[in-house]
């Protein structure tokens, strides 16, 4: 069988905050149809890796490429290829749930945006909330809307930071099935998760991060 194309390639990633090294020498390659789960304790560096991968955080060393293009948060090509659900997704306070999805679908040039939005809205079970403004959504509904923004647009890499957060049991099951289907369609997935059932159902590989360490002290002058 032919080897699938490499979608994400991370080489020698290093990120430190002051003297605390969060991640060092991190390498990762994800091919189309693969799903990699980052696991580890709180503060192990899962979100930092994801933020470096999407370009929201600048790594100290190392490179990140998506489909051969070096990642920069502002590169339109990267914005087109990578769908992200990490903690900094902001909503327009005056646009309703359905209007957010409609805007994203149209911005990505989907010709029948209305149909796409309807499908996703049904799937994330936000039909009843379609006219609500984001400020009035519960935290679980906000999470569903954030996930919907990733599913309503074209993508080749999906990056999710603890996507199971605030979802009910049924919601986590739905998410696992959805991500399995994404993987089956040849999409690459990189996610951080604390939910073993989700990791087991979706991930083809698990990368456990050990956590932060202090940088070695510089040798003192005699």
């Amino acid at each position: 069988m032919a080897k699938r194309a490499s979608v994400l390639k991370v080489t020698g990633l290093r990120k430190a905050f002051g003297p605390v090294v969060i991640i060092d020498g991190f390498d990762l390659e994800i091919r189309a149809g693969e799903a990699v789960a980052l696991t580890g304790r709180n503060g192990a560096g899962k979100s930092t890796v994801l933020r470096c991968v999407v370009g929201a955080e600048r790594p100290d060393e190392g490179t990140v490429t998506v489909n051969g293009v070096t990642v920069s948060e502002t590169n339109p090509q990267i914005r087109r290829d990578v769908a992200t659900v990490i903690d900094d997704l902001d909503f327009f306070p005056d646009l309703s749930v359905v209007e957010h999805l409609d805007l994203l679908a149209r911005a990505h040039g989907i010709p029948d945006a209305e149909a796409a939005v309807d499908e996703v809205l049904h799937e994330v079970q936000l039909v009843a909330q379609s006219g609500q403004l984001p400020a009035t959504l519960s935290s679980g509904q906000r999470r569903r809307l954030a996930l919907a923004t990733a599913f309503v647009r074209p993508r080749s890499l999906l990056i999710l930071d603890e996507p199971e957060q605030r979802l009910d049991t049924e919601g986590v099951q739905w998410l696992a099935q959805r991500l399995q289907a994404e993987r089956a369609r040849g999409l690459a997935i990189l996610m951080a998760s604390h939910e073993p059932s989700l990791v087991k159902a979706v991930a083809t590989r698990e990368v456990r991060l050990a956590g932060a360490a202090l940088a070695p002290e510089p040798a003192e002058a005699e």
């Binding site: 991640i23 070096t70 920069s72 339109p76 914005r79 005056d94 403004l133 009035t136 647009r153 073993p196």
Partner: protein
């Protein structure tokens, strides 16, 4: 970090230093945890004693004072810079007042005189509207989350606990409105008796309206306060229009009442305000017992959020909090189908917003009056600056989509466009509004009053366009400015360490308006202003985004370093 701290952190680390490890998917099943036996405490049955709310309040006050680290004297001696600033500003204000009085002497025509004397009326009405607006926004009676949790849950008499919380905003509203009205009356060249009467009527009226807002808060009724608020808002606009019309000679000065009649009307207003204050304050005090905790805490949380933003002088964040609150209050909208594909979808949504939240139109309508008022009141030289600032403030609510796209990277990352394309698209509708504004105010820049500006049609239109550009660019600068970065090296100031960007936060937006309109004010050709505006636009739309360029450079450098390392590895392995 000290050596000791490093050792402590090392000792606390459970895992060895191994940044990443790939493991098998099936972990071994964990052993069943054994629940330890626990003992629980229950409060024994007792006869509750009566609590004196005043005593409780005094105790809290005492705790707070006990935790103060500095005395008032120390604060004042440390704040000598602030004292100097107050003295300096006071001297400047005094100078302005003296100049205004002499300006009033030069305002010889009846039209000009009547128009100037109508300014205190506009100020009083605006003060009343602002009082009601602030009262509705914050409560006016409010409590912090901690007070809500610890005190409001206990069986206490809320009236005794909250009395001071009601009186404080009432007094504040009265004093602030009175001070502002006194200032405007003095600037208008009013005599001492008139000034005293206007000030008293403004202060008493504002205090009465704040008490009314307090009385309505307890029974959670908003219709009355909202109606009165609209009435005063419209009244302010009408008076401002009348001022302009009289000064421009469009309406005869005789339409305004004589000074004597106005004086008696103000006496009547003062009497009504005092009566209203007594009535509504007693009603509000009586109703304090019924006030719901949620209603108290909502104002408290708003104040806490705004306080946090104020420490960083982040006015954008303050606005965000207010916008979020308004959206939460509205809750639901009738979804409208989008139009267009690509970046035009974003522009269409901006257009659709214009009808969805109509409140910003009021600000834009008021800003239309400003150039006419400035010209009518002999301020034609400063008109581009004053009107540009008014338009900048009025346009900020229309730049909501640009704000969301720039305040955090999340939404911008979801849209497949370059930063400059996104920003340009989000500026398009506000720029259209600024253009429309410029056309509508062109007569003010040509000159409406006998003593005002005297420009040709082309000159007036160009000046109006430059002012419109300054306004929209000022708004863009305001909504796109970054929050102060407390991670950068701090600047030593007498007030303590401060990030350099914090100081400039106060001026953001204003700086752009001032720079763009400066050539016009100094009598230079309008093309200079247009050139400056073009440069500012190029910078604001992110064409040369320094952060992006830096990030690209760094990424390239990292890539080269990685490639070099790969080469070394290959060389070593072949040895």
């Amino acid at each position: 970090m000290s050596k000791k701290s490093r050792k402590l952190i090392r000792a606390a680390a459970v895992e060895p230093v191994a940044p990443a490890a790939q493991v098998a998917l099936d972990p071994e099943p964990a052993a069943e945890p054994v629940e330890p036996e626990r003992e629980f405490y229950f409060v024994p049955a007792f006869e509750p004693v009566e609590v004196d709310e005043k005593e409780l309040h005094d105790q809290i006050k005492q705790w707070r004072h006990g935790r103060a680290t500095r005395t008032l004297g120390q604060v004042l001696s440390d704040g000598y810079i602030a004292l100097f600033a107050v003295v300096l500003l006071g001297a400047m204000l005094g100078n302005v007042l003296v100049q205004a009085q002499s300006g009033a002497a030069a305002c010889t025509t009846t039209e000009c005189g009547v128009a100037r004397l109508m300014m205190p009326t506009a100020m009083v009405l605006a003060g009343y509207a602002l009082t009601l607006s602030a009262g509705r926004l914050f409560g006016p009676v409010l409590a912090s989350a901690a007070e809500g949790f610890w005190l409001m849950d206990a069986p206490l008499r809320r009236r005794r606990l909250l009395r001071a919380r009601l009186v404080l905003p009432v007094v504040l509203a009265g004093v602030l409105t009175a001070a502002l009205t006194a200032l405007v009356a003095a600037l208008s060249g009013m005599d001492a008796v008139g000034l005293g009467l206007w000030t008293a009527a403004a202060g008493a009226g504002s205090a009465a309206l704040m008490a009314l807002a307090g009385a309505e808060q307890a029974i959670e009724r908003t219709t009355g306060v909202r109606s009165v608020l609209w009435l005063f808002g419209i009244g302010t606009l009408a008076v401002l229009l009348l001022v302009v019309s009289i000064a421009a000679g469009w309406v005869p000065a005789s339409i305004a009442a004589s000074a004597e009649t106005v004086r008696w009307a103000v006496v009547g207003l003062l009497a009504a305000a005092v009566a209203g204050l007594v009535l509504w304050l007693s009603l509000a005090l009586r109703r304090l017992e019924r006030i719901r905790r949620a209603r108290l805490l909502s104002g408290g949380s708003l104040v806490a959020g705004m306080q946090g933003a104020m420490f960083a002088l982040d006015f954008g964040l303050i606005r965000d909090i207010l916008v979020e609150r308004e959206a939460a209050a509205r809750g639901h909208v009738r979804p409208v189908r989008g139009r267009g594909l690509g970046v035009w979808a974003l522009v269409w949504r901006d257009l659709q917003r214009l009808g969805r939240f109509p409140k910003p139109w009021i600000g834009l309508a008021v800003s239309l009056v400003v150039p006419y008022a400035a010209d009518a009141l002999r301020m034609s030289q400063l008109n581009p600056l004053v009107s540009g600032l008014a338009l900048f403030i009025a346009l900020v609510p229309f730049l909501g989509s640009l704000r969301v796209l720039t305040r955090s990277g999340g939404m911008a990352r979801s849209l497949p466009f370059k930063t400059s394309t996104l920003r340009s698209a989000a500026m398009l509708v506000p720029a259209g509004l600024a253009l429309l504004w410029a056309v509508l105010v062109t007569p003010a820049f040509i000159g409406i009053a006998q003593t005002g500006a005297d420009r040709s049609v082309v000159g007036g239109l160009t000046t109006a366009l430059v002012t419109g550009l300054a306004g929209v660019l000022g708004g863009v600068r305001w909504v796109t400015a970054k929050q102060p970065d407390f991670g950068v090296p701090m600047m030593a100031t007498p007030g303590g360490a401060m990030p350099p960007t914090l100081m400039f936060n106060l001026l953001r937006g204003i700086d752009v308006v001032a720079v763009v309109t400066a050539p016009l004010i100094m009598g230079a050709p309008a093309t200079w202003s247009l050139g400056i505006a073009l440069v500012v636009f190029v910078l604001l739309r992110g064409t040369f985004n320094m952060d992006e360029l830096k990030a690209e450079q760094e990424a390239l450098k990292r890539e080269q370093q990685t490639q070099a390392r790969e080469k070394i590895r290959v060389t070593r392995s072949t040895r």
